[in-house]
């Protein structure tokens, strides 16, 4: 396919007049045949066809055309002609010129923070920060009555709420008389077993194997603490309406949980001196939800004056900080005064010391690097870093099956080496698939696909598991992240080893303190 382009003849003009076509559109033309007359500032010239074929004219006559523009094609074959026709049919709509940008940078940033679509703003003139602020106020005014207070209209998209959030409101309600006479210091002084008795007697739902640490306090009109929950020494749990904690969740010493409504899931692992609360923790909108298997690192601080939704398997690592409000100088002097929720969608990860500012929303499986400062939204599955944090890439890499298999095999070799270095008597038993070792009479092996056939006692790691698991054998399905069967200290140790590679298995607990590793 050949093109006929208007070429520049002199320096004075940007345009030429396409005066006349000498041939009909779609006419057959031959190389060198004059096809049109073009008037430039210097001369009137005939333009010749560059080849033989069918001419497709892109302009009419007596039109001014910018120099450098293609004014016609010459299709040398029927196929070329067809492709020209196809192209002209799905020509994309012209992009608006760059000069059409009308929202200021500040307006765009504020709009992004509040998920406002600026194309919906109807205004003659520039869209400024002030316009967006007015819009936010208007939106708040219209949204507030409908949204209710518990989640205050915050979207739960991408967030798996804990089962405790769905519990019937009548579960765990304490006797008002008990609350009336409740004294914090007296409760703290009780031995752990007596605390549980006291709460149960008053109407709280307290599961089996619950451990409330020495000096701890649990005070709320509605208390649900499921099986196996452990709160470390000196925990302070004070909620205005409800506290509900799912099974096997545990926190280290000095937990502080102050919030109007706290709904925590199952299998949460919290470090020492974790703090939920801060200014406004009694506000009508102070709701905290933490999904199953979330990790909350040492000294993490979560301010809860607006809803904070932490999804399933979120990593909120040590000393990270979530703030839901900011009070500075007077709003009437133009200073910012901000109250907004923070949402961490499922499996997102927050690095050491990162700060999430009011209004932040971290997309599912996104990673926020250590010491970053997050304002606004971080897209799902992205890696974000900086002050303020910006998405710079993807949070994970695509693994080939071969690479995944290689990593899994290496795990069993590493575990073998680790146990040997720890001084345990370990002997290699297999090469190839399955491969592994024996420790304390238990075989620990990796096989790509588990279909039975490994004798008890054994702990088997696999990335594809089918069929029944016999007694005395525990199979860890590494991809589905499930444990089939049961085992003793060896299984716990393998699980702990897996946990340190980010593989958290269900059913919990996923944290195993100590053991062989």
């Amino acid at each position: 396919m050949l093109e006929i382009v208007l070429t520049r003849e002199d320096a004075n003009t940007e345009y030429a007049l396409l005066a006349e076509w000498l041939v009909e559109d779609r006419a057959e033309v031959t190389a060198g045949q004059p096809v049109c007359v073009v008037e430039t500032t210097k001369a009137t010239v005939e333009v010749e066809s560059p080849g033989t074929g069918t001419i497709v004219q892109l302009y009419g006559e007596e039109v001014e055309v910018e120099l450098g523009t293609t004014i016609a094609y010459v299709a040398e074959t029927a196929d070329e002609l067809a492709s020209i026709d196809a192209r002209s049919e799905d020509k994309p709509a012209p992009k608006p010129p760059a000069g059409d940008r009308k929202a200021t940078r500040k307006a765009v940033e504020l709009a992004e923070l509040h998920s406002i679509d600026l194309s919906t703003v109807e205004k003659r003139g520039f869209i400024t920060e002030k316009d967006v602020e007015a819009l936010i106020v208007a939106q708040k005014a219209s949204a507030a009555p409908a949204a209710g207070q518990v989640l205050a209209g915050v979207s739960t998209d991408g967030v798996s709420l804990p089962a405790t959030f769905e519990l019937d409101e009548g579960v765990g309600v304490l006797d008002p008389a008990f609350l009336e006479s409740f004294e914090h210091e007296a409760f703290r002084a009780l031995v752990p077993a007596d605390k549980i008795h006291a709460l149960r007697d008053a109407g709280a739902r307290i599961g089996d194997g619950v451990d409330l640490g020495e000096g701890s306090l649990v005070a709320a009109p509605r208390v649900v603490i499921e099986d196996g929950v452990r709160l470390g020494p000196r925990a302070t749990v004070v909620c205005e309406e409800v506290v509900a904690i799912g099974e096997r969740s545990q926190f280290g010493p000095d937990l502080e949980l102050r919030c109007r409504r706290a709904f925590l899931g199952a299998g949460i692992w919290g470090g020492r001196s974790v703090r939920f609360g801060g200014g406004g923790h009694r506000d009508p909108w102070a709701t905290l939800t933490v999904g199953d298997l979330a990790f909350v690192g040492d000294e993490a601080f979560v301010n809860v004056c607006r809803p904070v939704l932490i999804g399933r398997e979120v990593f909120l690592t040590m000393r990270s900080m979530i703030v839901t409000h900011n009070i500075g100088h007077s709003v009437l002097e133009g200073f910012e005064n901000r109250f907004a929720s923070v949402v961490l969608e499922d499996r997102s990860q927050i690095g050491l010391g990162a700060v999430l500012y009011a209004g932040a929303r971290i997309g599912a499986e996104a990673i926020v690097a250590s010491n970053s400062y997050v304002v606004g939204e971080i897209p799902a599955a992205s890696f974000a870093i900086g002050v303020p944090a910006k998405a710079t890439g993807s949070s994970s890499h695509k693994l080939s099956d071969a690479r995944r298999l290689d990593l899994a095999r290496r795990m069993i070799d590493d575990l073998h080496e680790l146990l040997a270095l720890r001084g345990h008597a370990v002997s290699a038993i297999e090469e190839g698939d399955p491969r592994g070792f024996e420790i304390d009479g238990t075989r620990v092996a990796f096989t790509a696909s588990y279909r039975g056939g490994i004798d008890a006692p054994a702990v088997v790691l696999a990335i594809d598991v089918r069929g029944d698991v016999p007694d005395g054998v525990a199979v860890l399905d590494l991809l589905a992240r499930r444990v089939h069967g049961s085992g003793g200290v060896v299984l716990d140790s393998v699980r702990e080893f897996c946990r340190k590679r980010g593989i958290k298995l269900e059913p919990g607990p996923w944290s195993y303190p100590g053991g062989l590793v």
Binding site: T13, E14, T41, K42, E64, R101, T104, G125, F126
Partner: protein, 343 residues
């Protein structure tokens, strides 16, 4: 965005000349290479010699004699329009202007007028080199009893040219070269793009632009002609990137200098930047700065800043030419440097 197809400057000027010729038979047009089919170096006179062969005359390359002939025709009751192919060449005719054309009316006690129009392109940014790229309006600023009109792409270019032809005074009609190829953008519903626009003064109006519909502004930029798009780009950048809001006054009448629109704007904004494409010293900005500080000292919170070409020659090489001529960045920096602009 405009829904109608905007005409480019050259098209507006050409159509206006055709309309003027059709309207009045005392108008004659002459200049170098203006006959069809060439129609002038920038095509402004295209089609006129074919339509009016006895009133459109091509001349030798002698600007001094062109001015002299035009003066004589104007004194004898015709309305000559001269096309000086490049504004740089007006220097060749200035003796006729300074010692004759501008003085005859008063010398002959108002018994005669010299109603001629000198149309000429000024300005660079096209790589034409030292003697075809200058903006020499400032040479005309100090000549009493003439009128200097500079069209910008946001003015009603046709109305300006028509008024110039009807004017009894000698008028220099300055056409920046970039005006020819750019669309003539006129206000719609009081706006051009996102900027609100007011038009004031006759017959050669000033346009005042505001990014906030005249509710707030931290500086005024006064400019004309081919610098207007540069200034509007700078002002737009300041709005979008920093929410700094300025007003812009685009004069079309440079001589006699009437600055009401500038005084009104400075009363709102408290600071002034001047922007011109000609060289800095003894220029448009210098004259305006002097007049504004005399008349509106109490409105100013900062010294007037001038943006202009460096005092030097304009190289042909485009990167060097860009260094010489005032840029968007120069305007942005001048505004940002004013006291009380950065918050």
């Amino acid at each position: 965005m405009s829904t109608t197809q905007q005409k480019r400057g050259v098209q507006v000027l050409n159509e206006t000349l055709h309309a003027i010729f059709a309207e009045r038979d005392d108008v004659v047009l002459f200049g170098e290479d203006i006959l069809d089919p060439y129609g002038g170096a920038f095509k402004v006179t295209h089609g006129l010699s074919d339509a009016y062969p006895d009133r459109v005359l091509t001349t030798p390359i002698s600007e001094a004699s062109l001015f002299g002939v035009a003066a004589g025709m104007a004194l004898r009751g015709r309305r000559p329009i001269l096309e000086i192919m490049f504004g740089d060449f007006i220097a060749l005719g200035l003796d006729q202007v300074v010692n004759g054309i501008s003085k005859f009316r008063e010398m002959y006690d108002d018994q005669v007028t010299v109603p001629l129009v000198v149309r000429t392109p000024m300005g660079g940014r096209r790589g034409y080199g030292p003697t075809h790229s200058q903006s020499l309006e400032k040479l005309l600023l100090g000549i009493p009893n003439i009128c200097v009109v500079a069209a910008s792409e946001c003015h009603d270019i046709g109305a300006l040219l028509t008024a110039a032809v009807e004017d009894e005074r000698p008028v220099f009609f300055i056409e920046n070269k970039l005006l020819y190829g750019r669309p003539n953008r006129r206000p719609e519903d009081g706006h051009i793009g996102e900027l609100a626009v007011r038009e004031s003064g006759r017959p050669y109006p000033a346009l005042t632009f505001s990014a906030t519909d005249f509710t707030e502004g931290s500086a005024t930029v006064v400019t004309y002609g081919g610098m207007l798009p540069v200034v509007l780009d700078a002002v737009t950048e300041l709005v979008l990137e920093h929410e700094i809001f300025c007003e812009v006054v685009a004069l079309s009448q440079l001589v006699p200098m009437e600055l009401d629109a500038v005084f009104e704007s400075v009363a709102r904004t408290g600071a002034l930047v001047t922007a011109e494409e000609g060289t800095l010293t003894g220029g448009f900005g210098a004259e305006i700065a002097a007049r504004v500080q005399e008349a509106a000292w109490s409105d100013l919170r900062a010294p007037v800043q001038r943006v202009a070409a460096r005092d030097g020659i304009i190289p042909s090489a485009r990167p060097l030419e860009d260094e010489m001529l005032p840029s968007v960045e120069d305007v942005v920096n001048a505004i940002a440097a004013l006291d009380g602009v950065r918050s």
